[in-house]
Symmetry: C2
Subunit: 279 residues, 2 copies
Protein backbone atom coordinates (compact mmCIF):
# COMPACT_ATOMS: atom_id res chain seq x y z
CA UNK A 1 0.00 0.00 0.00
CA UNK A 2 1.41 3.38 -1.05
CA UNK A 3 0.20 6.44 0.84
CA UNK A 4 0.19 9.91 -0.71
CA UNK A 5 0.19 13.18 1.24
CA UNK A 6 -0.54 16.55 -0.36
CA UNK A 7 0.43 19.54 1.78
CA UNK A 8 3.45 18.90 3.98
CA UNK A 9 2.64 21.10 6.99
CA UNK A 10 2.24 20.00 10.59
CA UNK A 11 -0.55 17.45 10.00
CA UNK A 12 0.78 16.14 6.69
CA UNK A 13 4.25 15.89 8.20
CA UNK A 14 3.04 13.99 11.30
CA UNK A 15 1.03 11.57 9.16
CA UNK A 16 4.09 10.88 7.02
CA UNK A 17 6.35 10.20 10.02
CA UNK A 18 3.80 7.84 11.60
CA UNK A 19 3.07 5.90 8.41
CA UNK A 20 6.74 5.54 7.49
CA UNK A 21 7.49 4.26 10.99
CA UNK A 22 5.04 1.45 10.16
CA UNK A 23 6.85 0.65 6.93
CA UNK A 24 4.33 2.18 4.52
CA UNK A 25 5.77 3.80 1.45
CA UNK A 26 4.89 7.53 1.61
CA UNK A 27 4.82 9.93 -1.35
CA UNK A 28 4.62 13.65 -0.54
CA UNK A 29 3.61 16.66 -2.64
CA UNK A 30 4.18 20.29 -1.68
CA UNK A 31 4.00 23.49 -3.70
CA UNK A 32 7.43 24.46 -2.35
CA UNK A 33 10.53 22.59 -3.51
CA UNK A 34 12.23 23.56 -0.23
CA UNK A 35 9.46 21.82 1.76
CA UNK A 36 9.83 18.74 -0.44
CA UNK A 37 13.55 18.66 0.38
CA UNK A 38 12.98 19.03 4.13
CA UNK A 39 10.34 16.26 4.01
CA UNK A 40 12.82 13.80 2.53
CA UNK A 41 15.61 14.89 4.88
CA UNK A 42 13.41 14.57 7.97
CA UNK A 43 12.18 11.15 6.87
CA UNK A 44 8.58 12.35 6.56
CA UNK A 45 8.26 10.89 3.05
CA UNK A 46 10.12 8.40 0.86
CA UNK A 47 9.78 10.54 -2.25
CA UNK A 48 8.57 14.09 -2.78
CA UNK A 49 7.66 16.34 -5.66
CA UNK A 50 6.00 19.64 -6.46
CA UNK A 51 3.92 17.78 -9.08
CA UNK A 52 0.75 15.82 -8.32
CA UNK A 53 1.88 13.32 -10.96
CA UNK A 54 3.98 11.66 -8.24
CA UNK A 55 0.74 10.26 -6.80
CA UNK A 56 -0.18 8.19 -9.90
CA UNK A 57 0.78 5.01 -8.03
CA UNK A 58 -0.73 5.93 -4.62
CA UNK A 59 -3.53 3.81 -3.12
CA UNK A 60 -4.67 6.23 -0.40
CA UNK A 61 -4.12 9.98 -0.52
CA UNK A 62 -4.48 12.47 2.36
CA UNK A 63 -5.09 16.05 1.21
CA UNK A 64 -3.69 18.21 4.03
CA UNK A 65 -3.87 21.67 2.45
CA UNK A 66 -5.70 24.64 4.01
CA UNK A 67 -9.49 24.26 3.71
CA UNK A 68 -9.96 26.64 0.78
CA UNK A 69 -7.51 24.64 -1.34
CA UNK A 70 -9.03 21.19 -0.73
CA UNK A 71 -11.50 21.14 -3.60
CA UNK A 72 -9.21 22.86 -6.18
CA UNK A 73 -6.42 20.43 -5.24
CA UNK A 74 -8.64 17.39 -5.76
CA UNK A 75 -9.74 18.83 -9.10
CA UNK A 76 -6.13 18.95 -10.26
CA UNK A 77 -5.36 15.54 -8.77
CA UNK A 78 -8.06 13.36 -10.34
CA UNK A 79 -6.47 13.08 -13.82
CA UNK A 80 -3.47 11.30 -12.25
CA UNK A 81 -5.32 8.89 -9.92
CA UNK A 82 -5.61 5.12 -10.23
CA UNK A 83 -9.31 4.21 -10.62
CA UNK A 84 -9.44 2.47 -7.22
CA UNK A 85 -7.47 5.14 -5.37
CA UNK A 86 -9.08 6.42 -2.15
CA UNK A 87 -8.83 10.12 -1.31
CA UNK A 88 -9.40 11.66 2.10
CA UNK A 89 -8.81 15.08 3.67
CA UNK A 90 -8.05 16.47 7.12
CA UNK A 91 -10.13 19.66 6.92
CA UNK A 92 -11.82 20.97 10.06
CA UNK A 93 -15.18 21.50 8.31
CA UNK A 94 -16.88 18.78 6.35
CA UNK A 95 -20.31 19.64 4.91
CA UNK A 96 -19.45 21.52 1.72
CA UNK A 97 -16.05 19.84 1.39
CA UNK A 98 -17.37 16.26 1.42
CA UNK A 99 -20.23 17.05 -0.94
CA UNK A 100 -17.95 18.70 -3.51
CA UNK A 101 -15.09 16.22 -3.22
CA UNK A 102 -17.41 13.21 -3.50
CA UNK A 103 -18.76 14.62 -6.76
CA UNK A 104 -15.22 14.96 -8.09
CA UNK A 105 -14.08 11.53 -6.89
CA UNK A 106 -16.54 8.84 -5.75
CA UNK A 107 -13.90 7.12 -3.57
CA UNK A 108 -13.57 10.23 -1.44
CA UNK A 109 -14.03 9.84 2.35
CA UNK A 110 -13.98 12.92 4.59
CA UNK A 111 -11.89 12.85 7.74
CA UNK A 112 -10.85 15.12 10.59
CA UNK A 113 -8.08 14.35 13.07
CA UNK A 114 -8.66 16.40 16.24
CA UNK A 115 -4.98 16.85 16.96
CA UNK A 116 -2.60 19.75 16.64
CA UNK A 117 -0.10 21.93 18.39
CA UNK A 118 0.82 25.58 18.50
CA UNK A 119 3.87 25.31 16.24
CA UNK A 120 2.99 24.93 12.58
CA UNK A 121 4.82 23.64 9.51
CA UNK A 122 6.83 20.57 8.64
CA UNK A 123 9.59 21.40 11.11
CA UNK A 124 7.10 20.92 13.97
CA UNK A 125 6.19 17.41 12.74
CA UNK A 126 6.69 14.63 15.28
CA UNK A 127 5.94 10.95 15.72
CA UNK A 128 2.80 9.95 17.64
CA UNK A 129 0.87 13.25 17.53
CA UNK A 130 -2.42 11.40 16.98
CA UNK A 131 -2.13 8.81 19.76
CA UNK A 132 -5.31 8.83 21.88
CA UNK A 133 -6.82 11.77 20.01
CA UNK A 134 -10.23 11.61 18.29
CA UNK A 135 -10.34 11.06 14.52
CA UNK A 136 -13.67 11.62 12.87
CA UNK A 137 -14.61 9.88 9.61
CA UNK A 138 -17.58 11.40 7.79
CA UNK A 139 -18.84 9.21 4.92
CA UNK A 140 -21.93 9.97 2.85
CA UNK A 141 -24.52 7.28 2.18
CA UNK A 142 -23.07 7.04 -1.31
CA UNK A 143 -19.47 6.56 -0.13
CA UNK A 144 -18.20 3.05 -1.06
CA UNK A 145 -17.84 0.79 1.98
CA UNK A 146 -14.42 -0.49 0.94
CA UNK A 147 -13.10 3.08 0.98
CA UNK A 148 -14.35 3.71 4.53
CA UNK A 149 -12.97 0.35 5.64
CA UNK A 150 -9.48 0.95 4.26
CA UNK A 151 -9.30 4.49 5.65
CA UNK A 152 -10.40 3.15 9.05
CA UNK A 153 -7.73 0.44 9.05
CA UNK A 154 -4.99 2.91 8.22
CA UNK A 155 -6.13 5.57 10.71
CA UNK A 156 -6.32 2.92 13.47
CA UNK A 157 -2.57 2.52 13.11
CA UNK A 158 -2.08 6.12 14.24
CA UNK A 159 -3.47 5.16 17.66
CA UNK A 160 -6.57 7.39 17.26
CA UNK A 161 -10.02 6.98 18.74
CA UNK A 162 -12.17 6.71 15.63
CA UNK A 163 -15.69 8.17 15.46
CA UNK A 164 -18.15 8.23 12.54
CA UNK A 165 -20.78 10.84 11.76
CA UNK A 166 -22.42 12.58 8.86
CA UNK A 167 -20.59 15.70 7.61
CA UNK A 168 -23.45 17.83 8.97
CA UNK A 169 -23.31 16.32 12.46
CA UNK A 170 -19.56 16.84 12.45
CA UNK A 171 -19.94 20.49 11.56
CA UNK A 172 -22.50 21.15 14.28
CA UNK A 173 -20.40 19.34 16.89
CA UNK A 174 -17.18 21.20 16.05
CA UNK A 175 -19.10 24.47 15.94
CA UNK A 176 -19.73 23.91 19.67
CA UNK A 177 -16.34 22.78 20.81
CA UNK A 178 -13.97 24.44 18.38
CA UNK A 179 -15.42 27.28 16.31
CA UNK A 180 -17.69 28.90 18.93
CA UNK A 181 -14.82 29.05 21.47
CA UNK A 182 -12.70 30.97 18.93
CA UNK A 183 -15.39 33.61 18.45
CA UNK A 184 -16.21 34.11 22.14
CA UNK A 185 -12.52 34.24 22.98
CA UNK A 186 -11.96 36.82 20.23
CA UNK A 187 -14.83 38.91 21.62
CA UNK A 188 -13.16 38.83 25.04
CA UNK A 189 -9.88 40.23 23.71
CA UNK A 190 -11.73 42.85 21.64
CA UNK A 191 -13.86 43.99 24.56
CA UNK A 192 -10.79 44.40 26.80
CA UNK A 193 -8.99 46.30 24.04
CA UNK A 194 -11.83 48.81 23.93
CA UNK A 195 -11.61 49.88 27.59
CA UNK A 196 -11.34 53.65 27.23
CA UNK A 197 -9.71 54.36 30.59
CA UNK A 198 -5.99 53.85 29.93
CA UNK A 199 -5.18 53.29 33.63
CA UNK A 200 -7.67 50.47 33.85
CA UNK A 201 -6.62 48.92 30.56
CA UNK A 202 -2.96 48.95 31.56
CA UNK A 203 -3.79 47.53 34.97
CA UNK A 204 -5.83 44.76 33.33
CA UNK A 205 -2.89 43.95 31.06
CA UNK A 206 -0.52 43.82 34.02
CA UNK A 207 -2.78 41.71 36.22
CA UNK A 208 -3.87 39.16 33.62
CA UNK A 209 -2.87 35.67 34.69
CA UNK A 210 -3.75 32.06 33.86
CA UNK A 211 -7.55 32.56 33.77
CA UNK A 212 -7.32 35.22 31.12
CA UNK A 213 -4.52 33.44 29.31
CA UNK A 214 -6.57 30.26 28.92
CA UNK A 215 -9.86 31.92 28.03
CA UNK A 216 -8.23 34.16 25.42
CA UNK A 217 -5.91 31.55 23.90
CA UNK A 218 -7.96 30.40 20.90
CA UNK A 219 -9.16 33.96 20.22
CA UNK A 220 -5.53 35.05 19.91
CA UNK A 221 -4.76 32.24 17.49
CA UNK A 222 -4.20 32.13 13.73
CA UNK A 223 -6.62 34.68 12.15
CA UNK A 224 -6.70 32.82 8.84
CA UNK A 225 -7.94 29.67 10.55
CA UNK A 226 -10.65 31.59 12.41
CA UNK A 227 -11.81 33.16 9.17
CA UNK A 228 -11.98 29.76 7.42
CA UNK A 229 -14.07 28.30 10.27
CA UNK A 230 -16.55 31.13 9.93
CA UNK A 231 -16.66 30.98 6.13
CA UNK A 232 -16.93 27.20 5.77
CA UNK A 233 -19.02 26.42 8.82
CA UNK A 234 -21.08 29.59 8.80
CA UNK A 235 -24.51 28.08 9.37
CA UNK A 236 -23.64 25.75 12.26
CA UNK A 237 -21.51 28.45 13.85
CA UNK A 238 -24.38 30.95 13.70
CA UNK A 239 -26.67 28.45 15.45
CA UNK A 240 -24.11 27.96 18.21
CA UNK A 241 -23.48 31.70 18.51
CA UNK A 242 -27.19 32.44 18.81
CA UNK A 243 -27.68 29.83 21.53
CA UNK A 244 -24.58 31.05 23.29
CA UNK A 245 -25.85 34.63 23.29
CA UNK A 246 -29.10 33.51 24.88
CA UNK A 247 -27.16 31.89 27.69
CA UNK A 248 -25.01 34.97 28.10
CA UNK A 249 -28.08 37.19 28.23
CA UNK A 250 -29.51 34.96 30.93
CA UNK A 251 -26.39 35.35 33.05
CA UNK A 252 -26.38 39.13 32.50
CA UNK A 253 -30.03 39.21 33.52
CA UNK A 254 -29.34 37.25 36.69
CA UNK A 255 -26.46 39.52 37.70
CA UNK A 256 -28.33 42.74 36.82
CA UNK A 257 -31.40 41.52 38.75
CA UNK A 258 -29.34 40.10 41.63
CA UNK A 259 -30.95 36.70 41.09
CA UNK A 260 -28.17 34.94 42.96
CA UNK A 261 -29.87 31.56 43.36
CA UNK A 262 -30.42 31.28 39.61
CA UNK A 263 -26.83 32.31 38.91
CA UNK A 264 -25.53 29.78 41.43
CA UNK A 265 -27.57 27.04 39.77
CA UNK A 266 -25.91 27.78 36.41
CA UNK A 267 -22.43 27.94 37.93
CA UNK A 268 -22.96 24.62 39.71
CA UNK A 269 -24.32 22.86 36.63
CA UNK A 270 -21.45 24.18 34.46
CA UNK A 271 -18.94 22.96 36.99
CA UNK A 272 -20.52 19.50 36.76
CA UNK A 273 -21.31 19.37 33.04
CA UNK A 274 -17.76 20.29 32.00
CA UNK A 275 -16.60 16.86 33.19
CA UNK A 276 -18.48 15.31 30.24
CA UNK A 277 -16.02 16.99 27.90
CA UNK A 278 -12.80 16.57 29.78
CA UNK A 279 -11.86 12.91 29.81
Amino acid sequence: MKIGIIGLGLIGGCLGLDFRSQAYKVLGVSRQQSTCDIAVEKGVVDESSTSLELLATADLIFICTPIHLLVPTLEKLTPYLKPQAIVTDVGSVKGAIVANCSRLWPNFVGGHPMAGKTEQGINAAQLGLFVNTPYLITPLESTPHFAVKILTEIVEKLGCQIYYSSPEEHDRAVAWISHLPVMISTSLIQACAEEQDLNIRQLAENLASSGFRDTSRVGGGNPELGLMMAKYNRQALLISLTNYRQNLDEIIDYIAGEKWQELEKILVSSNQYRDNFIQ
Copy 2:
Protein backbone atom coordinates in the same frame (compact mmCIF):
# COMPACT_ATOMS: atom_id res chain seq x y z
CA MET B 1 7.75 42.29 63.42
CA LYS B 2 5.03 39.72 64.12
CA ILE B 3 2.74 38.77 61.25
CA GLY B 4 -0.78 37.46 61.79
CA ILE B 5 -2.76 35.39 59.30
CA ILE B 6 -6.48 34.73 59.61
CA GLY B 7 -7.80 31.96 57.37
CA LEU B 8 -5.25 29.19 56.78
CA GLY B 9 -6.21 28.05 53.29
CA LEU B 10 -4.02 28.05 50.20
CA ILE B 11 -3.16 31.76 50.22
CA GLY B 12 -2.87 32.11 53.99
CA GLY B 13 -0.76 28.95 54.08
CA CYS B 14 1.59 30.14 51.32
CA LEU B 15 2.03 33.54 52.99
CA GLY B 16 2.91 31.82 56.28
CA LEU B 17 5.51 29.55 54.69
CA ASP B 18 7.16 32.44 52.84
CA PHE B 19 7.26 34.78 55.84
CA ARG B 20 8.58 32.12 58.19
CA SER B 21 11.31 31.26 55.67
CA GLN B 22 12.42 34.88 56.10
CA ALA B 23 12.50 34.55 59.88
CA TYR B 24 9.32 36.50 60.64
CA LYS B 25 7.28 35.25 63.56
CA VAL B 26 3.89 34.13 62.17
CA LEU B 27 0.68 33.74 64.20
CA GLY B 28 -2.20 31.89 62.52
CA VAL B 29 -5.91 31.77 63.25
CA SER B 30 -8.38 29.28 61.75
CA ARG B 31 -11.93 28.35 62.70
CA GLN B 32 -10.94 24.67 62.64
CA GLN B 33 -8.66 23.27 65.35
CA SER B 34 -7.55 20.58 62.89
CA THR B 35 -6.35 23.27 60.45
CA CYS B 36 -4.49 25.00 63.28
CA ASP B 37 -2.71 21.71 64.03
CA ILE B 38 -1.74 21.10 60.41
CA ALA B 39 -0.46 24.70 60.13
CA VAL B 40 1.96 24.20 63.02
CA GLU B 41 3.00 20.74 61.78
CA LYS B 42 3.68 22.00 58.24
CA GLY B 43 5.65 24.97 59.55
CA VAL B 44 3.17 27.46 58.11
CA VAL B 45 2.90 29.31 61.46
CA ASP B 46 4.83 29.50 64.73
CA GLU B 47 1.67 29.51 66.81
CA SER B 48 -1.96 28.91 65.96
CA SER B 49 -5.34 29.27 67.60
CA THR B 50 -9.05 29.24 66.85
CA SER B 51 -9.29 32.53 68.78
CA LEU B 52 -8.52 35.96 67.34
CA GLU B 53 -7.05 36.91 70.70
CA LEU B 54 -3.81 35.29 69.54
CA LEU B 55 -3.28 38.33 67.30
CA ALA B 56 -3.11 40.87 70.15
CA THR B 57 0.66 41.16 69.64
CA ALA B 58 0.67 41.13 65.82
CA ASP B 59 2.00 44.15 63.89
CA LEU B 60 0.61 43.26 60.45
CA ILE B 61 -2.38 41.00 59.88
CA PHE B 62 -3.47 39.37 56.60
CA ILE B 63 -7.16 38.41 56.52
CA CYS B 64 -7.33 35.49 54.08
CA THR B 65 -10.94 34.34 54.56
CA PRO B 66 -13.48 34.05 51.74
CA ILE B 67 -14.72 37.47 50.59
CA HIS B 68 -18.05 37.42 52.41
CA LEU B 69 -16.28 36.86 55.76
CA LEU B 70 -13.71 39.67 55.44
CA VAL B 71 -15.73 42.48 57.02
CA PRO B 72 -17.32 40.34 59.79
CA THR B 73 -13.87 38.97 60.66
CA LEU B 74 -12.35 42.44 60.95
CA GLU B 75 -15.29 43.49 63.14
CA LYS B 76 -14.50 40.69 65.57
CA LEU B 77 -10.76 41.34 65.36
CA THR B 78 -10.56 45.05 66.19
CA PRO B 79 -11.11 44.70 69.98
CA TYR B 80 -7.87 42.69 70.20
CA LEU B 81 -5.63 44.82 67.97
CA LYS B 82 -2.68 46.99 69.03
CA PRO B 83 -3.47 50.63 68.10
CA GLN B 84 -0.69 50.77 65.48
CA ALA B 85 -1.47 47.35 63.98
CA ILE B 86 -1.88 47.29 60.21
CA VAL B 87 -4.56 45.06 58.69
CA THR B 88 -4.74 43.94 55.06
CA ASP B 89 -6.77 41.39 53.09
CA VAL B 90 -6.28 39.23 49.99
CA GLY B 91 -9.83 39.48 48.59
CA SER B 92 -10.34 39.48 44.83
CA VAL B 93 -12.72 42.47 44.92
CA LYS B 94 -11.84 45.70 46.63
CA GLY B 95 -14.41 48.51 46.33
CA ALA B 96 -16.92 47.64 49.06
CA ILE B 97 -14.37 45.70 51.11
CA VAL B 98 -11.84 48.53 51.41
CA ALA B 99 -14.50 51.13 52.17
CA ASN B 100 -16.05 49.04 54.95
CA CYS B 101 -12.79 47.79 56.42
CA SER B 102 -11.24 51.28 56.47
CA ARG B 103 -14.20 52.52 58.47
CA LEU B 104 -13.69 49.71 60.98
CA TRP B 105 -9.92 50.15 61.19
CA PRO B 106 -8.12 53.23 59.83
CA ASN B 107 -4.84 51.33 59.37
CA PHE B 108 -6.47 48.99 56.87
CA VAL B 109 -4.82 48.65 53.44
CA GLY B 110 -6.53 46.56 50.75
CA GLY B 111 -4.44 44.06 48.80
CA HIS B 112 -4.84 41.39 46.14
CA PRO B 113 -2.19 38.84 45.25
CA MET B 114 -2.87 37.54 41.72
CA ALA B 115 -1.58 34.07 42.44
CA GLY B 116 -3.24 30.73 42.97
CA LYS B 117 -3.44 27.15 41.89
CA THR B 118 -6.12 24.58 41.27
CA GLU B 119 -5.64 22.73 44.56
CA GLN B 120 -7.11 24.52 47.54
CA GLY B 121 -6.55 24.37 51.29
CA ILE B 122 -3.56 24.40 53.59
CA ASN B 123 -2.26 21.09 52.31
CA ALA B 124 -1.66 22.71 48.92
CA ALA B 125 0.47 25.48 50.48
CA GLN B 126 3.99 25.81 49.09
CA LEU B 127 6.99 28.12 49.29
CA GLY B 128 7.39 30.78 46.59
CA LEU B 129 3.86 30.80 45.12
CA PHE B 130 3.96 34.59 44.74
CA VAL B 131 7.34 34.94 43.03
CA ASN B 132 6.96 37.07 39.86
CA THR B 133 3.18 37.35 40.23
CA PRO B 134 1.37 40.70 40.42
CA TYR B 135 0.31 41.97 43.85
CA LEU B 136 -2.05 44.90 43.85
CA ILE B 137 -2.23 47.34 46.77
CA THR B 138 -5.33 49.53 46.83
CA PRO B 139 -5.09 52.36 49.39
CA LEU B 140 -7.68 55.09 49.81
CA GLU B 141 -6.66 58.73 50.00
CA SER B 142 -7.29 58.50 53.74
CA THR B 143 -5.09 55.42 54.23
CA PRO B 144 -2.03 56.30 56.41
CA HIS B 145 1.20 56.37 54.40
CA PHE B 146 3.14 54.37 56.99
CA ALA B 147 0.64 51.52 56.64
CA VAL B 148 1.04 51.38 52.84
CA LYS B 149 4.82 51.61 53.20
CA ILE B 150 5.08 48.73 55.68
CA LEU B 151 2.72 46.49 53.68
CA THR B 152 4.76 47.24 50.55
CA GLU B 153 8.04 46.34 52.25
CA ILE B 154 6.67 43.02 53.49
CA VAL B 155 4.99 42.08 50.20
CA GLU B 156 8.22 42.87 48.32
CA LYS B 157 9.83 40.00 50.22
CA LEU B 158 7.43 37.56 48.55
CA GLY B 159 9.07 38.37 45.21
CA CYS B 160 5.88 39.95 43.80
CA GLN B 161 5.51 42.67 41.20
CA ILE B 162 3.72 45.37 43.16
CA TYR B 163 1.10 47.64 41.56
CA TYR B 164 -1.01 50.39 43.15
CA SER B 165 -4.49 51.50 42.19
CA SER B 166 -7.71 52.75 43.71
CA PRO B 167 -10.14 50.00 44.79
CA GLU B 168 -12.47 51.03 41.94
CA GLU B 169 -9.76 50.80 39.27
CA HIS B 170 -8.82 47.40 40.64
CA ASP B 171 -12.39 46.15 40.42
CA ARG B 172 -12.83 47.33 36.83
CA ALA B 173 -9.51 45.81 35.78
CA VAL B 174 -10.20 42.40 37.36
CA ALA B 175 -13.73 42.46 35.93
CA TRP B 176 -12.03 42.37 32.50
CA ILE B 177 -9.37 39.78 33.08
CA SER B 178 -10.84 37.57 35.76
CA HIS B 179 -14.59 37.92 36.36
CA LEU B 180 -15.77 38.42 32.75
CA PRO B 181 -13.84 35.31 31.59
CA VAL B 182 -15.67 33.22 34.21
CA MET B 183 -19.07 34.33 32.95
CA ILE B 184 -18.36 33.88 29.24
CA SER B 185 -16.78 30.52 29.90
CA THR B 186 -19.83 29.45 31.93
CA SER B 187 -22.10 30.54 29.08
CA LEU B 188 -20.08 28.35 26.71
CA ILE B 189 -20.56 25.23 28.83
CA GLN B 190 -24.26 26.01 29.32
CA ALA B 191 -24.87 26.57 25.62
CA CYS B 192 -23.21 23.24 24.71
CA ALA B 193 -25.23 21.46 27.40
CA GLU B 194 -28.42 22.68 25.78
CA GLU B 195 -27.81 21.11 22.37
CA GLN B 196 -31.03 19.14 21.86
CA ASP B 197 -29.70 16.62 19.35
CA LEU B 198 -28.16 13.89 21.50
CA ASN B 199 -25.93 12.60 18.67
CA ILE B 200 -24.40 16.00 18.20
CA ARG B 201 -24.01 16.65 21.92
CA GLN B 202 -22.27 13.33 22.43
CA LEU B 203 -20.05 13.89 19.43
CA ALA B 204 -19.12 17.34 20.77
CA GLU B 205 -18.24 15.80 24.13
CA ASN B 206 -16.08 13.16 22.45
CA LEU B 207 -14.30 15.56 20.12
CA ALA B 208 -13.57 18.32 22.63
CA SER B 209 -9.85 18.90 22.90
CA SER B 210 -7.45 21.57 24.17
CA GLY B 211 -9.30 24.55 22.64
CA PHE B 212 -12.51 23.71 24.45
CA ARG B 213 -10.65 22.63 27.58
CA ASP B 214 -8.89 26.00 27.89
CA THR B 215 -11.86 28.19 26.99
CA SER B 216 -14.17 26.35 29.42
CA ARG B 217 -11.70 26.03 32.30
CA VAL B 218 -12.66 29.01 34.45
CA GLY B 219 -16.37 28.48 33.72
CA GLY B 220 -16.07 24.98 35.15
CA GLY B 221 -14.34 26.27 38.29
CA ASN B 222 -15.53 26.75 41.86
CA PRO B 223 -19.19 27.93 41.71
CA GLU B 224 -18.94 29.71 45.08
CA LEU B 225 -16.08 31.86 43.82
CA GLY B 226 -17.98 32.76 40.64
CA LEU B 227 -20.99 33.76 42.68
CA MET B 228 -18.88 35.96 44.98
CA MET B 229 -17.31 37.73 41.99
CA ALA B 230 -20.75 38.54 40.65
CA LYS B 231 -22.13 39.65 44.02
CA TYR B 232 -19.21 41.76 45.14
CA ASN B 233 -18.12 43.18 41.80
CA ARG B 234 -21.56 43.39 40.24
CA GLN B 235 -21.34 46.87 38.77
CA ALA B 236 -17.93 46.57 37.11
CA LEU B 237 -18.78 43.08 35.88
CA LEU B 238 -22.01 44.34 34.28
CA ILE B 239 -20.08 47.06 32.44
CA SER B 240 -17.63 44.45 31.11
CA LEU B 241 -20.45 42.06 30.17
CA THR B 242 -22.32 44.77 28.29
CA ASN B 243 -19.24 45.77 26.31
CA TYR B 244 -18.44 42.15 25.67
CA ARG B 245 -21.92 41.49 24.31
CA GLN B 246 -21.56 44.40 21.90
CA ASN B 247 -18.39 42.85 20.55
CA LEU B 248 -20.03 39.46 20.29
CA ASP B 249 -22.98 40.97 18.43
CA GLU B 250 -20.58 42.60 16.01
CA ILE B 251 -18.93 39.26 15.26
CA ILE B 252 -22.32 37.56 14.84
CA ASP B 253 -23.34 40.35 12.49
CA TYR B 254 -20.18 39.96 10.42
CA ILE B 255 -20.65 36.19 10.09
CA ALA B 256 -24.37 36.43 9.36
CA GLY B 257 -23.75 39.13 6.74
CA GLU B 258 -20.65 37.40 5.34
CA LYS B 259 -18.60 40.51 5.99
CA TRP B 260 -15.35 38.58 5.85
CA GLN B 261 -12.99 41.55 5.64
CA GLU B 262 -14.42 43.03 8.84
CA LEU B 263 -14.23 39.68 10.61
CA GLU B 264 -10.65 39.20 9.48
CA LYS B 265 -9.73 42.65 10.81
CA ILE B 266 -11.05 41.69 14.27
CA LEU B 267 -9.31 38.32 14.25
CA VAL B 268 -6.01 39.92 13.26
CA SER B 269 -6.24 42.66 15.88
CA SER B 270 -7.13 40.12 18.62
CA ASN B 271 -4.19 37.99 17.63
CA GLN B 272 -1.95 41.05 18.05
CA TYR B 273 -3.58 42.67 21.09
CA ARG B 274 -3.45 39.48 23.18
CA ASP B 275 0.35 39.87 23.40
CA ASN B 276 -0.19 42.92 25.64
CA PHE B 277 -1.60 40.59 28.30
CA ILE B 278 0.70 37.64 27.97
CA GLN B 279 4.12 38.67 29.23
